[in-house]
Amino acid sequence: MGVAIAFWVLAAVSVASALAVVITRDIFRAALFLVLCFLTIAGIYITLGADFLAAVQVLIYIGAISVLIIFAIMLTREAQRGSPSNRLRLPALAIGVLLLATLVFAVLVTPWNVVVPLPEAEPTTAGIAARLFDLEGGFVLPFEIVSVLLLAAAIGAIVLARDR
């Protein structure tokens, strides 16, 4: 029951803020709404019992990505120009709605073999670690690759944004 309430509230807020992100013309406010959206999504993770992910979500998306985005907004003094929509608004809207319809349809027609009864959500940190670094069926190699990707991205970003 509590979870249900939490879900509905969070879902409503997240959808609203996401809409605000794409609709509002003031780019800085859009970024703030994005932060809100991320926050609510973290809450949704909690309702899903993914506590670790929730924390990481806040840490990465709010602490890093949103800050980066806001920085970009401030550095590219586009705020006064705002972020208007382009000529493709209506087709984009149509596509979005169609996509949504398709996805919802797919979700509803697909017979999900959900496990019943649902086990209690217990802390996932150790579990995730074990799953990541499990030697058979684990994700050690992808982990390493992602690390290298991050390094490359960092260096690339530095090189790109460096002032010549």
Partner: protein
């Protein structure tokens, strides 16, 4: 059960009471109420402690600067913060006309809320009631939450549409983001040893305080968190000399108070976290655990103040360099070392302590030597300079403060002090009127009448002190030496007519004449009181 026992188990008792009270309710309702109670508790707790901290900081910094801080409002000036808060609340609250209102008003809230949220997982003592919720991701939760305040700073800087605010916000955020990296990395060392993210577990794991096992990690974490909460030497956001007051330049009264609260709340939180992660939290002999906790927190906080009153402010480029070239690599190295140790000696025998301290020293020296932030900037010669400065400020703690409790306590001026008021010795005055004639401003009014035998009796002797320029001609012209300059230095009066000084006050006994034009008087005058005591004297 004795009183001591009650004090000792204060928090568990409270917990039992509340849980008993909420026994009947459905779980979600109890959750809600518990949450609300927790919120309220934390609110009060934080605000109170912050006030305490404000007072404490001002006092301690005063001592570091050989003053005694605020000591008038209430016992030992304890009510000073309250007075400040009242002042802030009474101030006029305005908003800049160009401000983005929503953002502008939400900013302080966004900035302050995380500061409160952090305390949800800070264990002030073990067992039940010691902590609001023991998240198994406690420390991660703290790091995550504390990043949110960055957004608040941004909002403040942007919303108040003021270039200083914006620059301040940019600086702050850049600083926070850069210092977050070494901060988190240094936490990893602790987590590696403790084998858990939960704060309670971390504390319980600390048979040996982790500051000994993780000296380098402690240093990095401490500096990093100093930067996170923008305390000196990292307080660039409010470098008054450069950007007026950083991101909260445009915030009046109560809104500024909220930022203030947020800042000190963060300071408190950081102290608490450092205590928990590195100083063994509530653990300690004898005293009840929460007392231990508070003592340690206060200790950490006072170390912050110590640093603040010692070190000058970083330059902004040095700031970034310090984060990326100095703390970041050191943090990485620390992780590697800790990882190796965790693999080789899982139970961390005591020699590790020495090894780690040694390693820390070597690394600091190496980095200062080979990776200077800029040419010649060797972190004050491998931190030795810093240590010296710290020692000096520490010594100041034990010097007698030079504060003078005016008006109760006054300083005796020098014997050569010229003085700035007139003193009349009526007994000697012949009413010759030489002074009147001598006065270039004609502000001395003298009335005399014939006495019974020859000689004049002075009936009225007024001086318009308001216009007097204390040229002293009257004193010099007095043939009988009945006029003197006075030694005190109060000049302010409450009413205008008091500026015309009459005979009674001129002749008042509390008026001590100075030695002006009477050098023979110097001998019997009192010693001048010196603020800085001569060497050896305390």
């Amino acid at each position: 059960m004795g009183v001591w026992d009650f004090i000792y188990n204060l928090f568990p008792r409270l917990y039992e009471l509340t849980s008993a009270a909420l026994g009947g309710l459905p779980t979600w309702a109890s959750y809600l109420i518990l949450g609300l109670i927790g919120i309220v508790l934390i609110l009060f707790f934080v605000i109170l402690v912050v006030m305490l901290f404000v007072w404490f900081e001002r006092r301690l910094v005063g001592r570091f600067q050989i003053r005694l801080g605020p000591n008038r409002a209430g016992p030992a000036g304890l009510f000073q913060p309250i007075a400040d808060v009242i002042k802030l609340l009474l101030k006029e609250s305005f908003t800049p006309s160009k401000a983005d209102r929503w953002v502008y008003f939400l900013a302080p809230v966004v900035a302050v809320v995380p500061a409160f949220l952090i305390f949800a997982v800070v264990p002030i003592q073990g067992g039940a009631g010691g902590i609001l919720v023991d998240l198994n991701i406690g420390i991660l939760y703290i790091v995550a939450i504390s990043t949110i305040s960055v957004v608040g700073v941004f909002m403040a800087g942007w919303g108040s549409s003021n270039k200083y605010s914006l620059v301040g916000a940019m600086r702050t955020v850049a600083q926070m983001v850069s210092y977050e990296v070494p901060l988190v990395l240094s936490i990893i060392g602790v987590v590696l040893i403790a084998g858990s993210l939960s704060m309670v577990t971390i504390v319980k794991e600390q048979a040996v305080p982790f500051i000994l096992l993780q000296p380098l990690g402690f240093l990095i974490f401490f500096l990093g968190s100093l930067a996170e909460i923008n305390r000196s030497p990292f307080d660039l956001l409010e470098a008054e000399s450069e950007i007026v007051a950083g991101f909260h330049t445009e915030y009046p009264g109560i809104w500024f108070a909220i930022f203030f609260l947020a800042e000190y709340g963060h300071a408190l939180a950081v102290s608490a976290i450092v205590t928990t992660l590195f100083l063994g939290g509530w653990m300690g002999p004898g005293l009840p655990p929460y007392l231990w906790f508070f003592i340690k927190v206060l200790l950490v906080f006072s170390v912050m103040l110590w640093l603040r009153s010692t070190l000058p402010r970083f330059r902004v480029d040095q700031l970034m360099g310090f984060a990326w070239k100095y703390l970041f690599p050191l943090a990485l190295v620390n992780i590697f070392i800790t990882g190796f140790e965790a693999i080789l000696w899982p139970d961390f025998p005591w020699p590790i302590i020495l090894v780690n301290i040694l390693v820390m020293g070597v690394l600091i020296v190496l980095w200062s030597r080979f990776f200077p932030l800029e040419e010649g900037f060797r972190l004050e010669r491998y931190g030795i300079g810093i240590a010296k400065g710290m020692a000096l400020t520490f010594k100041h703690l034990f010097r007698r403060p030079i504060t003078v409790q005016y008006p109760e306590q006054r300083l005796t001026p020098s014997r050569r002090f010229r003085g700035n008021e007139l003193v009349l010795d009526l007994g000697r005055c012949t009413g010759c009127g030489a002074c009147v004639r001598a006065c270039p401003l004609n502000i001395i009014h003298l009335e005399t009448r014939r006495g019974p035998e020859k000689g004049l009796i002075v009936e009225r002797f007024d001086v318009e002190a308001g216009r007097c320029m204390y040229c002293g001609l009257c004193v010099e012209s007095c043939p009988v030496g009945c006029l003197f300059m006075g030694r005190s230095y109060e000049r302010a009066t409450y009413r205008l007519e008091e500026l015309t000084v009459g005979m009674d006050r001129l002749t008042a006994p509390d008026r001590k004449p100075s030695a002006y034009a009477h050098p023979e008087m110097e001998k019997e005058m009192p010693e001048q009181t010196l603020l800085a005591p001569p060497k050896g004297v305390h």
